[in-house]
């Protein structure tokens, strides 16, 4: 079921240009014709034929440059403003975190503001009353809740605004860059709340410039460019395509070929990048040095990668990531995170990553291998292209299996102690 359906939406903003500053009734009357003055000088096409479906329960990140139409799209989904043509359909209750605490009145207490703000967002008085304690607890206001809002610090103000909006308990939550303004602790709290929303199967649409957030939090990403959808699909893939283009615009001479249009859907597997460095071969090796696709849990695994750079590079990072079959990241690292300073990559090269103990439960896993710039712009990104199985005689569950032992004492008797981490 689609929580949000955006069909062929165009949004034209009217600009009144110079006349706007003098655009008054007097001039309208003097120039003869009030109606003519209502006609705009020029128009600005903010969204140009955007169609997006968001499946209920998914988290979608919208990225793009400033002015690409991200916020316009979000406002249309929120119902603030109507599309010039096309349709927007949202099922369920919507709450939009576009500006936190919009509508707070500085002179009256936080308590009264919570009620009024909640009612503006569509709650009844009784509903707010029931959630009031949650709201105050989330905002960490304590006794300040009865003080006028003008005495609040900006952090308290934002927390309270966020707490009210989130407690509307929407089916679809729309978020516009609100996380950019908070401190570390606040951002962390918000992210936790988002995670809780996701667990409860709610839909989140997030506009952000924090690309890292999109890859970490979102199930899919939507890249808007000049009011059109450039790409929609796997977040890592879309973000990288976007990064590549931004880098290309910044640095024309070394720009790679433009990214291929990214297809939405499938499992997100694929390969992209500027190809200034290429990953030529990836092998997974067992302890005896034989390439394999099956590994014993708790045994070593070696990843051997051959790369080639046609021209010498001085800014490069190698990375790997291990994912479960359904896309949960088990582990990811790269040479930059681990403090490696790139000197030079020229011609053919090879690196290996030795994992001493593959402490994963039995199952199918996938591997990302990448070489990219330090700012994340990919040279060659292999997304979920390699897979391996972990085999284990023990059918424990989860992802990570730490090495462990059971010990029993007192009146417990277990005849055959279950095998520990070392199976």
């Amino acid at each position: 079921m689609h929580a949000v359906e955006v069909r062929d939406v165009r949004k034209i903003y009217r600009r009144y240009g110079r006349r706007k500053s003098f655009g008054t009734l007097k001039s309208a009357l003097l120039s003869g014709g009030v109606l003519r003055n209502l006609r705009p000088d020029s128009t600005f096409l903010a969204l140009d034929g955007v169609s997006v479906d968001v499946v209920a329960g998914r988290t979608v990140g919208i990225i793009g440059r400033n002015g690409s139409g991200k916020s316009s799209l979000l406002k249309l989904i929120a119902g603030i403003g109507k599309p010039t043509s096309g349709t927007v359909h949202v099922s369920g209750r919507v709450s939009a975190l576009i500006e936190l605490g919009a509508g707070f009145h500085p002179e009256i207490s936080g308590r009264e503001n919570v009620f009024i703000n909640g009612m503006m967002l569509g709650l009844s008085k009784a509903e707010i009353g029931r959630r009031f304690d949650d709201i105050v607890a989330f905002a960490e206001l304590g006794d300040f809740i009865d003080e006028p809002v003008k005495t609040y610090s900006s952090g308290m103000y934002m927390r309270l605004g966020f707490a009210v909006a989130i407690n509307v308990d929407p089916d679809v939550l729309l978020v516009d860059e609100v996380l950019a303004v908070g401190d570390e602790a606040f951002t962390h709290k918000c992210l936790e709340k988002f995670a809780e929303f996701r667990r409860r199967g709610k839909t989140i649409v997030l506009v952000t410039h924090t690309l890292d957030l999109v890859t970490r939090l979102c199930d899919e990403a939507l890249w808007l460019d000049g009011g059109r959808v450039r790409a929609h699909g796997d977040p890592k893939r879309v973000v990288d395509a976007y990064l590549l283009e931004v880098a290309g615009a910044e640095n024309q001479p070394t720009a790679g070929p433009p990214p291929q249009a990214v297809e939405p859907g499938s499992n997100g597997a694929g390969r992209w990048g500027s190809k200034d460095a290429e990953i030529e071969q990836v092998e997974l090796l067992r302890p005896d040095g034989q390439p394999s696709h099956v590994f014993e849990s708790g045994q070593p695994m070696r990843i051997r990668v051959r790369v080639r750079a046609p021209r010498p590079l001085h800014d490069f990072v190698f990375g790997i990531g291990i994912f479960t079959a359904d896309g949960v990241c088990c582990f990811g690292t790269n040479t930059d995170i681990e403090g490696g300073v790139p000197r030079e990559l020229s011609g053919a090269g090879e690196f290996t990553v030795d994992i001493d103990r593959l402490d994963l439960v039995a199952g199918a896993y996938k591997l990302d291998v990448a070489v990219h710039r330090q700012d994340g712009v990919p040279y060659d990104y292999h997304r979920l292209l390699y897979s391996f199985r972990v085999a284990s005689p023990v059918k424990d569950t989860g992802i990570y299996r730490p090495r462990h032992t059971w010990t029993f004492g007192g009146g417990i008797a277990i005849s055959q102690p279950p095998p520990g981490g070392q199976s």
Binding site: G23, T24, A28, A96, M119
Partner: protein, 265 residues
């Protein structure tokens, strides 16, 4: 349009909370909060009373306007409600632009709240009037007092219509506010507030009767001040009917401009 009207009705709890908030914010922000709301009408009352009873008492010759202060109050209090509501409505959408652009809620709530806040203040100010009535030991006819809610309702409808119309139009024509501000002075003097209808020359009566507020003020004065039965009720009821039409037209215009509001404020 009807769906939007229903929505306004659904938001009635919000409207009443917003009115309460406006009143609280006004009366909590300053020590003399309550006083400040009525400082201006009381100041006007003092000035006009002084001018027309001490400086030039001759101006009131021939009219049965004693005590003059009480007569003035009957007109100045409802006028203050009307004037502040209409003037504030001219800026309320621009001032609340943050809400209209960032939160999904019907914009007409803002001018409605302005007018209702004015009504609440007017209700409070009736206490002052009651004090004056008691001080001068005026006889109060219960039968005439029954008209008071009707008069207030007509004024509410008329003010609401005008406020809705102006609030949406000022978003597009910002100088409308200055125009309205100046017209208010003219309107004040063109309404029998500091003078009575009977003092105005006969040949101006037709003109004065074209002014909707004339009927309201005459009604207030007849019911609260003048002795004898309230005879001007047909004018009041006609104004009531016209106000309903005005409100419908104003809401229609507001509804048509609704989608442009979020972009223009």
């Amino acid at each position: 349009m009807l769906a939007n009207l229903r929505q306004v009705f659904r938001y009635r709890a919000l409207i009443s909370s917003l009115v309460a908030r406006e009143l609280k914010a006004r009366y909590r922000g300053s020590v003399l909060g309550f006083f400040w709301t009525f400082a201006n009408p009381l100041l006007l009352l003092g000035i006009y009373t002084f001018v027309f009873t001490v400086v030039m008492p001759g101006a009131r010759v021939g009219a049965r306007l004693e005590p003059y202060a009480l007569f003035l109050l009957c007109g100045i209090l409802p006028w203050t409600w009307f004037q502040t509501s209409v003037l504030e409505s001219c800026t309320v959408l621009v001032a609340g632009g943050n809400l209209i652009r960032k939160v999904l809620f019907p914009a007409e709530i803002l001018p409605i709240v302005t007018v209702l806040t004015g009504l609440a203040n007017f209700a409070f100010s009736l206490l002052i009037l009651a004090a004056f009535l008691a001080y001068y030991a005026r006889p109060v006819s219960v039968g005439e007092m029954a008209w008071l809610p009707v008069i207030v309702l007509v004024q509410l409808t008329f003010t609401l219509g005008l406020s809705l119309l102006l609030s949406s139009l000022t978003v597009h024509f910002r100088d409308l506010r200055d125009l309205v501000g100046n017209l208010m002075t003219l309107w004040f003097w063109g309404t029998p507030i500091i003078y009575s209808m009977s003092q105005a020359p006969e040949r101006f009566h037709r003109l004065l009767e074209l002014n909707p507020l004339t009927h309201l003020m005459v009604a207030y004065q007849s019911v609260l001040f003048l002795e004898g039965p309230f005879e001007a009720w047909p004018g009041l009821l006609w104004l009531g009917a016209a106000s309903v039409v005005l409100l419908a037209v104003a809401y229609f215009v507001f509804d048509r401009l609704r989608d442009t509001l979020a972009e223009e404020v």
